[in-house]
């Protein structure tokens, strides 16, 4: 018998509908895999055995009545940032100790309405602030991938490191994730998985713990492009509870797969050829362009002149919004409380103990750039630069470019507790150099595994699209996937 945990959503969907397997069998296969592997990978921070089995049994009833939804019986992992009613929701932070919301996020409610099964909550960088999953209160996630002939533990990327490791390590069929500066696409690239970050406004932010509200967007990490299309169809919706949720119908994304890309114009931004980029990344990028060209796409050189200012602008805008969003964690309404000599002392002690170092750093930066006398110099300047970054993309799209191809990350996965990165916060931030522009402009983008480096570690390419044209990205990334093949780690865990 084949290992059920190796099936993609599309494959499992077919077998479930044909009644060759039951949803309970599939869910049990994943729960067993999690129970035996989670200690090694640390992908899950909470496992919902009973709920998963209850949901799977309900799916089996619906399937046998012929009423299954689009994700009927598909076991998913959910990033700890999404509110799940009555279930651990802590954004992998100590400050939300014991928090079990009385409500369900819109994105997860959509998934359950389509029949999906909750396996548990996935590890992440605390409040999604990080690029290595090392800022989690629950400790780092270990990447299922290792370099050839080397058993050194590597990071799974971040902030959606648990999502990436769980999908790549066969601990869920697919996972939800969120992306504020690269938090879906970078971990996907580090684990040989597909990371889809939709247009800002496509998936509701309601019930998702807020980090930087003008940048946050929910998406998925999946085994392949088809699964990404299936997930987005269910996750996306028009939600009256989120005023930035856009009132546009949700298309059948799966239908875009296999459609010709003949005549599609693919932009290659010269500014992404950054100093010190490895030959391997450069070669992979070229290969991606050749694959698209061979399928009939036209490759055009473009310029996005403000690219290098995206990361500095991000490190003003995101912390500023975070400092405001995280003001709510005060030890009064939920989570941790540390007693103090008066109410102010209680706030200060609670927040000192509840937040980790990276979160504190960002709150302080945000508080500083928003404080009297600095607001115009930092925050307003950054928001003006952001207008220019978006205009760069608008100009390229107006000139006829349909999508933009870039590398997803400047390198493959690095080691856990890398000393050089730990010593300099900015070095860690540079991981997001290719992904952060997309959030600043609110665009959709997908990271697709495209090859392995000389050490045998996965590398990804990124396709960036026009607002709400996710279908174009699915079409083009499917072509890359067909050419590049699939990448799976050798099981050691």
């Amino acid at each position: 018998m084949t290992d059920l945990t190796r099936l993609t959503i599309a494959q499992a969907r077919e077998r479930l509908r044909a009644k060759e397997i039951s949803a309970l069998e599939l869910t049990d296969a994943y729960l067993n895999a999690i129970d035996s592997s989670n200690e090694a990978l640390n992908a899950y921070v909470a496992i919902t055995h009973d709920k998963a089995r209850d949901m799977a049994r309900a799916s089996d009833e619906r399937l046998s009545a012929g009423e299954g939804g689009a994700l009927e019986g598909i076991p998913l992992g959910i990033k700890d940032l999404f509110a799940t009613e009555g279930v651990h929701t802590q954004a992998a932070s100590h400050i939300l100790d014991g928090f079990k919301p009385r409500y369900e996020s819109t994105v997860t409610a959509n998934l359950w309405a389509d029949g999906a099964v909750l396996l548990g909550k996935l590890n992440m960088d605390e409040f999604a602030m990080g690029s290595s999953n090392e800022t989690s209160y629950y400790g780092p996630v270990t990447n299922p991938w290792r370099a050839k002939d080397d058993d050194k533990a590597l990071v799974a990327g971040g902030s959606s490191g648990g999502s990436a490791a769980a999908v790549s390590g066969f601990l869920c069929a697919a996972a939800t994730a969120t992306d504020t500066g690269g938090s879906i696409r970078q971990p996907a690239a580090f684990t040989g998985t597909v990371g889809m970050k939709p247009t800002y406004g496509r998936c509701s932010r309601w019930g998702t713990v807020a980090f930087a509200s003008s940048l946050d967007q929910a998406g998925s990490i999946t085994r392949d492009v088809r699964d990404a299309a299936i997930m987005l169809k269910s996750m996306a919706s028009v939600d009256l509870k989120d005023t930035t949720s856009v009132d546009l119908p949700v298309p059948d994304y799966e239908a875009a797969l296999g459609q010709s890309i003949k005549g599609m114009r693919i932009g290659v931004p010269k500014e992404y050829r950054v100093e010190g980029m490895s030959d391997e990344i450069e070669a992979l990028w070229q290969k991606g362009l050749e694959w698209l060209k061979a399928a009939g796409a036209e490759i055009v050189d473009i310029s996005l002149p403000h690219t290098k200012y995206a990361l500095p602008a991000y490190y003003i805008v995101a912390p500023a919004e975070a400092s405001s969003n995280l003001a709510r964690y005060d030890g009064v309404r939920y989570g941790l409380r540390v007693p103090g000599k008066d109410i102010t002392d209680m706030y200060e002690q609670t927040r000192a103990k509840g937040f980790g170092m990276e979160v504190k750093r960002r709150i302080l930066i945000g508080t500083y750039v928003l404080s009297a006398g600095y607001y115009d110099a930092y925050y307003v300047q950054a928001q003006k630069v952001r207008t220019l970054i978006k205009k760069d993309f608008d100009d390229a799209f107006h000139a006829g470019v349909d999508a933009i191809l870039t590398p997803a990350t400047p390198s493959a996965a690095f080691g856990i507790a890398d000393e050089e990165l730990a010593a300099d916060p900015v070095k860690m931030y540079l991981n997001d150099v290719f992904t952060v522009t997309v959030n600043m402009a609110g665009l959709p983008a997908i990271s697709i595994p495209a090859g392995l480096d000389s050490k045998g570690l996965p590398l990804g390419l990124q396709l960036i699209g026009r607002p709400f044209e996710e279908e174009t990205l699915f079409r083009a990334s499917y072509v890359i996937e067909q050419a590049a093949g699939h990448f799976q780690p050798e099981k050691w865990w």
């Binding site: 800002y200 990361l311 009064v332 989570g335 750093r361 302080l364 950054a382 003006k384």
Partner: protein
């Protein structure tokens, strides 16, 4: 621009995060690295550029000003560290 340890302590106070002398001095260095990094933004000519307020060119949806939720006081306080009769309990704030 750079910050000194006193500024870090003042900002930490504004953010309601207790910091020790040692932490404040460590953070001063880290924050200055980040502030040095964002300094590049000053090179950009932003004359006549409007600051970004929304990445999507849609007008924000508005709804009628009416009650859409409520009557769930027990749910609201369910996760609080200290409550009594559906009220949040805090240290004494008035004499």
């Amino acid at each position: 621009m750079s910050v000194d340890t006193d500024t870090v302590k003042r900002v930490a106070r504004l953010a309601r995060i207790a910091v020790t002398e040692e932490q404040a001095s460590q953070m001063t260095g880290e924050l200055n690295v980040i502030l040095g990094f964002v300094e590049h933004l000053r090179e950009v000519d932003v004359a006549g550029v409007e600051p970004m307020t929304s990445v999507i060119p849609f007008e924000m949806r508005k709804r009628a000003d009416g009650v859409t939720d409520g009557g769930i006081a027990a749910d609201v306080v369910a996760n609080a560290p200290a409550t009594e009769d559906n009220f949040f309990l805090v240290p004494k704030v008035v004499e």
